[in-house]
């Protein structure tokens, strides 16, 4: 999280993912797995708190996508259909650090689907009326019941995209000889010498984003608008 990436003569690797981006990624992996487990095992209290944690991460990721390092910024890595087509025609022509135009679609899809899944959970009530999402009071009982049903079904959609994501990583590893998991852990990758490097931001920007994300989640937990109905 230092402001500059010193060029190390012994290491040709350059920074591609900053620490917040990597932490968000792996925490989402852990929390989505835990959410699944807790839902399947009737640990609904844990499930709800896991969902709130996912919400916090998503809000943080959104803010980090605006104010964070260059490779985390949506405005930098989300490209139009023309760039995606160009990339598909000539993947080798892509030289920047960070998400490829195709990978960007995957990022947006996974974050978007996770956000939808969280939103459904927030307004759900369980079968017995013993537990409910913090915003369930804002909708009718029937709507909250429906939301629970959709929350269960929609998880399969999210799961399908996660599988696609993992399959794509395996494909790159096996057929393109590209290792994508290592850089998501270490933050560093072998880049073309002429690749545009990652531009980091000051560490306190991450702290500010985190504080806003926590405040937002706290507000949701309280039942939102003027704290419930």
């Amino acid at each position: 999280m230092t402001a500059t990436a010193p060029s190390m003569p012994t290491d040709t690797k350059q920074r591609v993912w900053d620490l917040p981006t990597r932490l968000i990624h792996w925490l989402l992996v852990a929390l989505i797995a835990f959410s699944w487990w807790s839902a399947e095992n009737g640990e609904i209290d844990w499930h709800i708190w896991s969902g709130i944690s996912v919400l916090t991460l998503l809000v943080f990721r959104l803010l980090w996508g605006i104010f964070g390092s260059s490779t985390a910024r949506f405005a930098v890595f989300v490209r139009g259909p023309r760039a995606v087509r160009a990339y598909l025609r000539d993947p080798g022509g892509w030289r920047s650090a960070g998400h490829t135009p195709l990978g960007a679609l995957s990022v947006v899809a996974l974050l978007g689907l996770t956000a939808i899944q969280v939103a459904l959970g927030l307004v759900s009530v369980d079968e017995d009326g013993l537990n409910e999402g913090p915003l369930a009071g804002l909708v009718s009982v029937d709507a909250a019941d429906t939301a629970r049903g959709l929350h269960g079904i929609f998880f399969n959609v999210l799961l399908a995209f996660i599988i696609l994501h993992v399959a794509a990583i395996l494909y790159y590893r096996l057929f393109e000889r590209k290792r994508l998991i290592g850089p998501m852990i270490t933050g560093r990758a072998e880049l073309n010498p002429d690749a545009e490097p990652m531009r980091p931001v000051k560490w306190w920007v991450a702290i500010l984003c985190l504080l806003v994300a926590l405040a937002f989640s706290r507000w949701i937990v309280a039942g939102a608008p003027p704290f419930g109905t």
């Binding site: 009530v125 009326g129 998880f155």
Partner: protein, 179 residues
């Protein structure tokens, strides 16, 4: 390639573990294997196919009604000022249905007969199940009395007990997915 195969196997296994299925008393699916396992259960003789379908339907409707009342009550418990009329009518509905719950699980209405979330354990441990059903009935009656009396502190305490009695039974005897 081993890695890829392994990953594919794992993901397939994971996917198959996740099929949501709503509970339906589905008599059409009962088939010929019905009631074979129940012969071992030391309770009264299994009910017939038609009777089973009727009871399972009634059970489903009844449980849903109890659930709806619980949800309505949950809202009143959370609200700053609770509407006593809603609390009382919902409490009465549950107290009305609770004694019937004991009769909703005769032998021959399990997962081997039709689509249900009721676990086979219900008929393997009939005494334990009956005790939990009785706990629920008592909790529902106590909650109804508290609702009639109208003291919110008492109502909330008894509602908590009632919720625990639902959970105690569901944790042991209700399957996450219908078989």
């Amino acid at each position: 390639m081993h890695k890829a195969l392994f990953a594919a196997t794992v993901t397939l296994a994971l996917l198959s573990a996740c099929k949501p299925a709503p509970e339906q008393a589905n008599a059409a699916n009962s088939g010929a294997n019905a009631a074979v396992e129940n012969a071992a259960v030391p309770v009264s003789a299994p009910v017939g196919k038609e009777e089973a379908a009727k009871i399972m339907h009634e059970r489903h409707e009844g449980m849903e009604k109890i659930g709806k009342s619980m949800k309505a009550l949950g809202r009143e418990m959370m609200a700053g000022t609770s509407d006593l009329a809603t609390v009382r009518s919902s409490a009465a509905t549950i107290a009305d249905l609770a004694p019937k719950a004991s009769s909703w699980f005769p032998a021959g209405t399990g997962p081997d007969v039709g689509k249900t979330h009721a676990k086979a354990e219900i008929w393997q441990k009939p005494e334990e199940f009956a005790a939990k059903a009785k706990d629920f009935q008592n909790a529902a009656a106590a909650f109804n009395e508290a609702a009639k009396a109208g003291d919110m502190t008492q109502i909330k305490a008894r509602f908590g007990d009632l919720g625990k009695s639902c959970k105690a039974c569901h944790d042991s005897y209700r399957a996450k997915h219908a078989d």
